[in-house]
């Protein structure tokens, strides 16, 4: 019965991986939703009370953290775009035979653990460390200057950690551009700036969008950077720090689960607004 076998093959191919994703991704999401609607304490146990009031409650208590996380992530995305674009452009258009080598050099530092890189930045940027300690010694900075644990330091750390997520998609988009289109623009008396903004940049938009999303989404949920470079200062905490603490330290599962779902909603809303703003039709190319 060849027809039956043909009908079964895709199912058999999908079953192990698809089943795994259902059991360890979809089902946990459902459980997180159920747990967010429970009440009680860790010691006496949690009961399913369908307490939807938890959502307005956590939003009222933690809206500032969502705002800060979104703000940090938006600024980080803009900075990585501004810094990453010239680099991706240079590699794609001027890289020549070294293109692949340069791209690998860009990703090479990121093979070292995220945690180790961030810890070393904390050391470099510490109050009396090799950068600020030196500047203080030669009198360029006041003795009480500090950078760690400030909002700027967290954004700095996020920018460093997520730069390759911006550079790689930008490179892919720029590399694909047909150079003759840019030549055509200059032949038609466009200045170099006009040719760049009207042709090159517009054609690279899919890379800009992909890079922005790949930077923004992990950034907004990050908690390591605020913990390490933010030196655990609650003034620079992002929402991820609270979720992690509530899940792993205070064991307040319902509030932590509710906070996680609100984060998902914030991410989806901002991504929807962004893709609407950029315009899907311009990305068709």
């Amino acid at each position: 019965m060849p027809s039956l076998r043909r009908g079964l093959t895709p199912l058999l191919l999908l079953l192990p991986g698809g089943g795994w994703l259902v059991v360890f991704f979809a089902v946990p999401m459902a459980f997180m939703l159920l747990i967010s609607l429970q009440q009680g304490t860790f010691d006496t146990g949690y009961q399913q009370t369908w307490n939807f009031g938890i959502y307005p409650e956590v939003i009222a208590e933690y809206w500032e953290l969502y705002l800060r996380s979104a703000l940090f992530a938006v600024i980080t995305t803009i900075v990585t775009l501004a810094v990453g674009y010239p680099v991706a452009y240079t590699i794609a258009f001027r890289g020549g035979r070294l293109k692949n080598a340069l791209l690998l050099v860009v990703v090479l530092p990121f093979f070292v653990s995220f945690v180790i890189r961030t810890l070393n930045w904390r050391m470099i940027l510490s109050d009396n460390g090799m950068v600020f300690g030196f500047l203080k010694d030669i009198g360029l900075l006041q003795a009480d200057f500090h950078f760690l644990a400030t909002p700027a330091s967290v954004i700095f750390g996020l920018t460093y950690n997520f730069l390759p997520f911006m550079i790689l998609p930008l490179y892919v988009a720029l590399e694909k551009i047909d150079r003759r289109l840019i030549e055509a623009a200059t032949d038609l008396y466009a200045t170099r700036a006009q040719a760049f903004w009207r042709v090159t940049f517009v054609l690279s938009l899919p890379g800009v969008v992909a890079g922005s999303l790949l930077t923004f989404i992990p950034t907004v949920g990050d908690f390591i950077t605020a913990e390490v470079i933010g030196a655990g200062n609650p003034q620079v905490f992002m929402v991820g720090n609270i979720i992690q603490r509530k899940f792993l330290d205070s064991l307040d599962y319902p509030a932590a689960a509710a906070l996680s779902f609100v984060l998902v909603a914030v991410v989806m809303a901002l991504v929807a607004v962004y893709t609407r703003l950029v315009g899907n039709e311009r990305l068709a190319g």
Partner: protein
Amino acid sequence: MRARLAGLALPGFTGLLLLFLFAPIAVMIAFSFNDPAGRQNITWQGFTLRNYVDVWGRSEITDAMTTSLGVAVISTIFATAFGTMIGLALTRYDFRGRWIMNLLIFIPMTAPEIILGASLLTLWVSFGVERGFLTILAAHIMFNISFVVVTVRARLAGMNRSLEEAGMDLYADGRTTFWKVTFPLIFPGVLSAALLAFALSIDDYVITVFSAGSVETFPLWVYGASRLGIPPEVNVLGTLIFLVAFAFIGVQLWAQRRQGKAAPITLVGR
């Protein structure tokens, strides 16, 4: 003259950015040779090679490394097999409910990691599953499947079907065609998917911390050990990992040059 300067601006900026990207790596390598007075490895005290010897004698480090390697190897094998099968099903067969499969692959890749980790914790808690090696493994296989599917699919999409048809025309059955024609053709894609899965697994902190319980992987140990300063052992292992990555990339570039054509870059750090 102005045009000359403008021409140097972009390469100059790129060079500076590369230096910036390597700054913490350079410090890491330098301080792996530091001989700190106390536990706080934050100022330069003197050169020593002792850290490179001592690191192998600390059982909590070697245990964490062993756990990380075990999780990475096993999760890579499972995720690569599962993901390749899904990739084949999605490119080769037409079936109903394809959008559900696409969503199941797409969402885990785009959701913030903390959401994946946290929701898994609620699963373990709900069923009273004790967290440890197996729960970490389940989590790693889960987040790696999507990346494998995407990588393998890209390879399958660019493949010439006529080679498989030729195989069939020459009386090879489905199985023989797959193992003699299809698989060797997609193998580079499968291999880079496996390497990506391995790299993602061995470096993961965020998802792991929610599924780990009292078991420590290498990133978890590093984080726990570095509350005050960075123990030199952390920088030693970081340096060794960096050297392995460097050698690996060097070999890849050399192989490309020998082939005389540029293979697409498939490794993405996370």
